[in-house]
Point group: C3
């Protein structure tokens, strides 16, 4: 189990942390605040999860309130919970203060525990081994809602990106890709048939979405070039989507199709939908979590509806082990779960944004700037001046004795 | 098994991907195309391996053609197969188009499966636990052959390197070093004596080649300084060479000697042989895979010849478990395997290069340039202008009213 | 076991190596020399540990001198030994020549094996599952002593840092954080209650020190900004301190308190004590190992004294399994161990520094400069000129025909 814990910490820290370092002037914030969120969340979620789990399980039994478990299994579950905060963090990174982020972490985990324990595991008994509903869908719509309802003195602009920052960001992509199968299969019974299937289906879906992303990213751009933002993110969309069906007895083709669909949707999201949402509704989504987590989790949910409907209506291989608690219509449950999770995410995000506005009103104007919150090294802003130099022409104002004549110097 | 799969993905993605980021202006290509090759190869090799394995095993039995296995074990074997493509990729990186690379991946895996299943496992029953023959020798000579026979409009030049790129590249080196023991012992029976021996011998060989590389790299250079290319690559040569003998009952000194020999040969390769081959034969080898994979695998093959000859001629500790399928002369089989694998690699590489030339003729002139295939950030080429500034003297052409006199500005 | 070995190599290589890349102009040295130290140390410590272990265990039995074990367990113990050298390396990095470092590695491991096998495991039977005494306390005071007694022609200055170097350094921090629990629990009996407790307590202590470091780093600085040096290092102090008590039956609050104390002390060390020691005593500590390893290990030692005194004096849950070899006063033993280890570290460090001075006298003046020992890429020093450009004003000396008038150019 400690071995699993390590895998999941890598996923959170190295994966999510470095994925966001594509922000050229916010790299320290991306990695450092990921550490802070995790360190706070891992302790706080022990209480949140315990509270809602016991509340639901024993609501008629006054004596059942027992201790909070502090063991490696509880800490692993807490790490899973933290991943929904880190997903939400992607929507607001660079636009909130560190203390606002602490508030968001604490608030988010309460609502996440309510959503995961009461709605999904308790009331709906949703089939969701890999957390497509619990982490990705909730985290994405919670984060988008916070980003939308947070009061800011001005509209946020596009964050500056950089070449080396893009390569750093690929570190995050690779570690997320690598550890995604263990993320999806992680909470399944160890070495069971379900866990093996979950891992295999996730690998297939990830490979499919990687290929589709490379294809579509190149095909849609002028000059047929790859866009780093697509490759860094949309390649992972297959893993998001396949999470809620990965442990079913599927033909491998199903996992591949779901991966392809998620990869296509996610790439289109980065290229078309994200600018549209920003220009039309003013919804600013720094890392594009709607494309990587929001839409693919909806696609995964729809796939789980179709598959459970097909299986229940006499399809082969009814997975009684997966659907064992379901007495009603499984497809219907999966569908209602989507509505409940999205609603829960948006409402709780709005509440959290309101708290954040009240506790620490936003006064800063500058965004995506490590210098506001970090003691940066002397070469921090040098890239900007370098960029000017790069243009070939640097406008300089000469302050010699002869007077301030303006002239251009052509740096060869 | 999923745990092993993760280790091997890290080896492929983070190890091979970042090892090649020493190319200062091709970092996105190095990491991104590694992802693309892996995503395609992992699915395609499921079919290749299944085809040749069944063909050989059941060639007299028409009914034996069964389904392609899709499970975690098959995916792990596919990942191993992909590593031979990634090795070949090192010879041509920066000089081929992404689509040419897709063709190379598909073609390479067919020939690799033929080589591994028909020649090595089937006909020769070569002792090769760590894939010295199957992955390193085949991948190296295949890649060199592709690089040699690929038609290009002009000779490729040395790729630009960078200081930060060198540090990124060390990430790849470290992860390869770390996961190499599990790569060599990975397909051995779990927790067997063979696997333990394979891991211990690999660690010793890697340590030995690391020390030898540091020594020789510093000793041969003017000023006794380390060359990053040596340290990034030749330190790993011991792991390549020891692969085909790692599971034998060896005195630890043997593993250390093989590691030393591989480290020395590889460092000399980077310093002497690679420039010689380029100037004499026009063989351009971007990452020096001949030094890291080609020569060390030959050294490993020779070591396996010597050791099996010694063991069979009455030496102590005949490893009946390793050589159980060998009825003839084991040393002879190991020797003939070298010839067959190198021939197979060169011929199939030539065929693949011909296909690549036909399907997508090369028209581009610029090389090692991410801008051709990626939407790069604004600061992509800024390092070049910076380099000019660095010289201390920047030639500027002043366009003031007084006329275009040329003068030098000394940036202090 | 090979799986553990991999975890510990990641800790050494990626963790310690990249943690030290915050040195902007010494990144290749930080990562490369970490490899060299590990490759040498892992082989040399096999002999050191075997020598002292057998010497102590069988000092009355002349026939007991047996072979040196070379297996995966011995290699894992050797890797643990290497970590004390890597800790010491942090105090002298950038100020010693590579060959001096080789001497330090060899000498340090002899004394470390003496300290760990004869003093701690043999004579004192100190409770120290996670190596707080054996690795952190010894390594820190050994390294500080070497740095203090090493003769240098001039006082070392502050090393240059960089923005991208800081982000690289965070890679090291994250991997150390992630693998620290397995470092502390690594040598405990697998899957035992002790190992589980060790892992859980370490995670809690790390989380606590992370939160305290973020708080104090921001609170003490002008402008309430985070200092990268604090975040990169002090966040890990909790793991150092909790090492010698992690396997005890503790209330989780104890682990959290120890983590908080270590985080506070370490942050204050970086901000207050380190400049004080340098200005007052000329003790130069490049990476601040006194703050990350020295003080937190003393805090851990004090905590172990208090806890063992409390437990022995009738406190609940006497951990007979941990303290089984202790017949005398356990608290007293833990206390005397601190004195012995610190003394052993300082004395053996002074001896080692003397050897280093004799074998290879220091003649170089420049420090923290990769160019002395590495063939650096063409853009190596470009950041420095960039930094000048960054100031906004670049003083240029115009060498036109009109004469050498000095003027300022304002780069916009």
């Amino acid at each position: 189990m400690d071995h699993c814990f390590i895998q999941f910490t890598i996923l959170r820290f190295v994966g999510f942390g470095y994925l966001m370092t594509f922000l050229k002037t916010y790299g320290l914030g991306a990695v450092g605040l990921t550490m802070l969120i995790t360190a706070i969340g891992i302790q706080w979620y022990l209480f949140c999860e315990s509270f809602f789990r016991q509340w639901y399980a024993n609501d008629n039994d006054a004596e059942a309130w027992v201790n909070v478990n502090v063991n490696i299994y509880a800490l692993t579950k807490a790490l899973f919970g933290v991943s929904s905060v880190l997903i939400s963090f992607g929507a607001v990174i660079g636009k909130v203060k560190p203390f606002q982020l602490v508030i968001m972490t604490i608030s988010s985990l309460v609502f996440h525990a309510f959503n995961a324990e009461i709605i999904l595991a308790g009331a709906m008994k949703t089939a969701d081994i890999g957390g497509t509903y619990a982490y990705h869908m909730f985290g994405a719509y919670f984060g988008l809602s916070v980003s939308y309802f947070l009061k800011r003195s001005k509209q946020p602009a596009d964050p500056p990106t950089g070449y080396i920052a893009d390569i750093f960001s690929m570190v995050g992509t690779l570690f997320l890709w690598i550890y995604w199968p263990s993320f999806v299969g992680g909470l399944a019974e160890a070495d069971s048939g379900q866990q093996d299937r979950a891992i295999v289906n996730t690998i297939l879906a990830l490979s499919a979405s990687t290929i589709c992303t490379f294809y579509l990213s190149s095909d849609r751009s002028s000059g047929h070039i790859f866009r780093p933002a697509d490759i860094q993110n949309a390649t992972l969309a297959g893993g998001v989507a396949v999470g809620c069906i990965a442990n079913l007895n599927l033909n491998p083709v199903n996992a591949i199709l779901v991966g392809c669909g998620a990869g296509f949707a996610s790439t289109l999201g980065y290229q078309v939908l994200q600018p549209f949402l920003y220009n039309k509704f003013g919804l600013h989504d720094t890392c594009g979590i709607h494309n990587l987590h929001g839409m693919p989790s909806i696609i995964g949910g729809i796939a789980s509806i179709c598959i459970s409907a097909y299986k229940q209506s006499g399809g082969r291989n009814h997975d009684s082990e997966v659907f064992r608690s379901h007495h009603g219509n499984e497809a219907w449950r999966q569908f209602v779960s989507i509505l409940l999770v999205v609603t829960c995410g948006i409402v709780s995000g709005a509440i959290t944004a309101w708290i954040m506005n009240v506790v620490e009103p936003d006064a800063e104007h500058t965004e995506f700037d490590d210098q506001l919150y970090w003691e940066t090294a002397g070469d921090f802003k040098s890239e900007e001046s370098t960029k000017n130099v790069d243009n070939g022409f640097v406008v300089v104002s000469q302050s010699s004795k002869k007077g301030g004549e303006e002239f251009q110097i052509n740096v060869q």
